[in-house]
Symmetry: C2
Subunit: 241 residues, 2 copies
């Protein structure tokens, strides 16, 4: 697939652009650049002046904020097809977090200016953006709730459930999408805590863990364990995109 084709296809798949006009997509595509980043590369840091937004083509991007003494809080970890940096339009044109490739990663880089203009002129896009923001907001509310009410093993169980096909019946195999260390930071805990909490979850629910794969006889094992301490009914919707 040529770069131009890939660009157009990637843009079309973004929920934000589902009502976008072809001319807008074409305009974006024309200004798009594909960037390849190696593991550990930092695309931008918190408070940088924002001129681009991005779409992940493959690999993984970690969004995070960090303090002077180096402690970091992971905001999110994004797979292919996800967009980031787009909200800076409304935030003094600076990024509200830092972004780093945690794997060799390709991203599409696009000018915020073009998006900004379109949002101001095309109500449909503004509405799509509002939906996206509302969805993100719900996700964040849920995240805060989880950090407050769930303990480490329960948070892991909840994370696994969101990775699984939630309509699936019977036995399932789940693959962790990235390093356990990274999952730990995504869930706001230390790698050691993650390791121990996973053992506890294993013992409490009867799931089988082997390296990066997790096998369940049924989702109910996890649902009973994790969803009891959550205000959302299972299945909790995937709000990530």
């Amino acid at each position: 697939m040529s770069d131009a084709e890939q660009t157009r296809k990637s843009l079309k798949n973004i929920a934000l652009f589902k009502d976008a006009s072809d001319s807008f997509i074409a305009n974006l595509a024309q200004n798009a650049r594909i960037q390849k980043h190696s593991k550990g590369h930092v695309l931008f840091v918190n408070q940088d002046k924002a001129e681009k937004f991005y779409i992940v083509l493959n690999g993984w991007i970690k969004l995070f904020r960090e303090t002077l003494d180096g402690a970091q809080a992971v905001v999110d970890i994004l797979p292919a097809g996800h967009i980031f940096g787009e909200t800076s339009i409304f935030e003094d044109d600076v990024y509200p977090y830092s972004a780093e490739a945690v794997e060799p990663t390709e991203v599409l880089s696009l000018p915020l200016e073009v998006l900004k203009k379109e949002i101001e002129e095309n109500p449909k896009i503004a509405l799509s953006m509002l939906s996206a923001m509302a969805r993100y907001r719900r996700q964040q509310d849920r995240e805060i709730e989880h950090r407050t009410l769930q303990n480490a093993p329960q948070r892991i169980g909840c994370f696994l459930l969101r990775l699984a096909d939630q309509k699936h019946e019977g036995a399932i195999t789940i693959h962790l999408p990235y390093d356990k260390t990274l999952v730990a930071s995504r869930l706001g805990m230390q790698p050691e805590t993650f390791s121990r909490a996973l053992s506890k979850l294993k013992q409490a629910t009867g799931i089988k863990v082997k390296g990066a794969t997790v096998e369940l006889d049924s989702l109910d094992q996890l649902i009973n364990y994790s969803c009891a301490v959550c205000s959302s009914e299972f299945p909790c919707k995937d709000l990530s995109q």
Copy 2:
């Protein structure tokens, strides 16, 4: 002041409506109802069908989510002039949290339908709403970071700083806006922890606490203590509205 006057004035003061047309404000005002709620009254619960949004006229509204076993996570505590329930337009028309008056409280109740229509038809309002959502998003990101990186005394210090006039030089007196128990839940900790953490903060920074008032010789005491473990530079903007 008559109810009609108060209604109009309250609407005009909402950031979301700063670019609203007079006819829209008039339309909203016509459909507005003032409700008085006593302490403890629950306006709606998480997942209720959403038909109204609200503006706090006086008193305090607690937004929260709770699990089956009664544990609750406080999302926010809103003073006069704040709006809530408005995002349900984009969320399947259900409320994403429960709302309770924590004091005798008056709210303005307004039909979501009218707002929804206006957002769809008036790009200016859609943009205002986007700004509001972006601001809220930043606030949530910060909240998650604080819960991850700050300990209890630091979170209290940060909370006090946000209550203070951040440009003020020299000595300041800060009044806690509501019950210490409520502040504790707002900060995601137990009342006992709050009490002990406040003592620790007092001892570490030299602030003076007497009931619900806190006296500082200067903001620097708190800034050094709390902002060291935060990714935002002081002064961190008030993002609440």
